[in-house]
């Protein structure tokens, strides 16, 4: 995840119409889309709404001028973990269906149900579209801009300041982790090498974790002291400059929010289903 952080920040530094939008607009659109999709009941309606939302996401992604491979890479790094969990739904009965029809009976009394497969698909669609909007938001917004945007939207100053510092430390941690890892490799230390005594491996790992923490802290403390000398302080985020949205940003925001609200309502009212 720490390595991924560097890649995300690299993507966010690029330039496009979406990258140039104010962070507040992107945060509002992404959160609204997620809330709207999660609010749709567990029914096959999700397929239609999910498909429309995904088209909306795909349009925005095209505007970012980022490669689809970037999106797929990030999706692949997230989905397998949750995909396994969603996959297990096909073996389970849940409270959202009353009748269950067995599709396949397996040994040890395990069965796969048609309704459970449907539920797993509904979860998958909701999850994939939600994740896609998160990928869009993080790949097109620099962390600093996101933080300023969040502070302008009302995130308490204490959180904004600590988040800003935490993000700096994440990069310090990343560099520190790389350095310590390389040092351990040059010493041919492998924590999973069964030939080494457990006690020795545990002690080395303990030293590694502790050293990473102490060195990151001390390096960060020095950086923070320099920042204090340059006028940065714990009250910095209390005074984030006000920045009104431009006309085009208002237009994008209003259109997107209207779209995100109207689509689920329209699908629900017409009870239109793809399947």
């Amino acid at each position: 995840m720490i390595e991924e952080l560097f890649e995300i920040e690299r993507d966010a530094q690029k330039d496009s119409v979406v990258h140039r939008l104010d962070a507040r607009v992107k945060i509002a659109i992404a959160f609204a889309a997620i809330i709207a999709l999660v609010a749709v009941p567990y029914s096959t309606m999700v397929y239609t709404i999910g498909a429309v939302f995904f088209c909306f996401f795909a349009f925005l992604w095209c505007c970012t001028r980022l490669s689809p491979v970037t999106y797929l890479k990030r999706l692949i790094s997230i989905v397998p973990l949750w995909g396994v969990i969603i996959f297990f739904q096909i073996f389970l009965k849940n409270k959202y269906y009353t009748d269950y029809h067995t599709v396949l009976s397996l040994p040890l009394g395990i069965s796969i149900y048609a309704e459970s497969i449907e539920f797993a698909f509904i979860l998958l669609v909701k999850f994939m579209v939600c994740i896609s909007f998160i990928i869009l938001l993080s790949s097109t917004t620099r962390m600093h801009d996101m933080l300023e945007g969040a502070a302008r939207m009302g995130l308490p100053a204490e959180f904004a300041l600590a988040l800003g510092m935490m993000i700096r430390y994440l990069f310090v941690f990343g560099y520190m982790f790389r350095k310590i890892n390389e040092t351990l490799k040059t010493k041919c230390f492998d924590a999973f090498d069964r030939h080494l005594p457990y006690r020795y491996r545990l002690r080395q790992l303990g030293y590694m974790i502790g050293t990473m923490f102490i060195r990151s802290y001390e390096q960060g403390e020095r950086v923070y002291t320099s920042m204090l000398c340059r006028g940065y302080g714990k009250d910095s985020y209390l005074f984030v400059q006000r920045k009104p949205l431009k006309g085009t940003e208002w237009a994008v925001l209003c259109f997107s929010l209207a779209f995100i609200t109207v689509i689920p309502l329209a699908v629900w009212l017409t009870s239109f289903r793809l399947l």
Partner: protein
């Protein structure tokens, strides 16, 4: 242990958010009173460290994901369960917004599990055991182990209430995974606190002192 979006219905997510906001407000009060210029780098580095610890995830078939939590570590070093809530909230915001690890609509539930339950369990177990045994490694180990196990059980209950996973199977799967992961969490927490108290005793707020023989050099 991170619950993703869509695994809990929106109205239940809203309830968890309301409960979490009460604790976030209390954690914010802790930050306003305690987080001075000296402590800020420590809070931030703890948050970054816990983020790094939580980045090693394993899928749990009848639950969500299995990983280290770090609530006990934050609460013990900073001497308050509200510190754990504050730090875990930071971690969950970054994980949810940047990496999609844990959802936006269910962030309240995740904060309750890892921050509130993890922080309170870790801190008060440590305080209680430290008073009884006066043994730092034992107290830290059990505090960290419980602070990993109990939130995972809470997560299984929330998923069962949501109707996404059955209660018994969820409790067994999440419980077994996190009871094992809790051992790693226990050792990691001991190692981190041991080294911090030895190298920088000024950073620790709970009255934990470096074990005899540990030098500060």
């Amino acid at each position: 242990m991170h619950i993703p979006d869509a695994f809990i219905p929106i109205w239940q997510g809203a309830i968890y958010w309301i409960i979490a906001l009460v604790f976030i407000a209390l954690a914010l009060r802790w930050a306003r009173n305690e987080m001075n210029e000296e402590k800020l780098p420590l809070v931030a580095v703890l948050a970054a460290g816990i983020f790094a610890l939580q980045s090693f995830n394993l899928p749990v078939s009848m639950g969500t994901s299995g990983h280290l939590v770090g609530g006990a570590l934050a609460a013990i070093i900073l001497g308050s369960p509200f510190a754990a809530i504050f730090i875990l909230t930071l971690v969950l915001i970054i994980q949810g917004v940047l990496f999609g690890d844990g959802g936006i609509t269910v962030m309240g539930a995740n904060i309750i599990n890892m921050g509130v339950i993890g922080g309170f369990t870790g801190y008060y177990t440590f305080k209680g055991l430290m008073g009884l045994t006066k043994n730092m490694p034992v107290s830290v180990f059990f505090a960290a182990w419980l602070a990993c196990l109990i939130p995972s059980l809470a997560c299984a209950v929330e998923m069962a209430i949501a109707g996404t996973f059955p209660l018994t199977e969820g409790l067994i799967a999440m419980g077994i995974y996190h009871a094992i992961i809790g051992f790693i969490e226990g050792f990691v927490t001991i190692a981190a606190i041991y080294i911090i108290t030895a190298a920088r005793p000024d950073l620790v707020d709970t009255g934990v002192r470096a074990p005899a023989g540990a030098s500060s050099s």
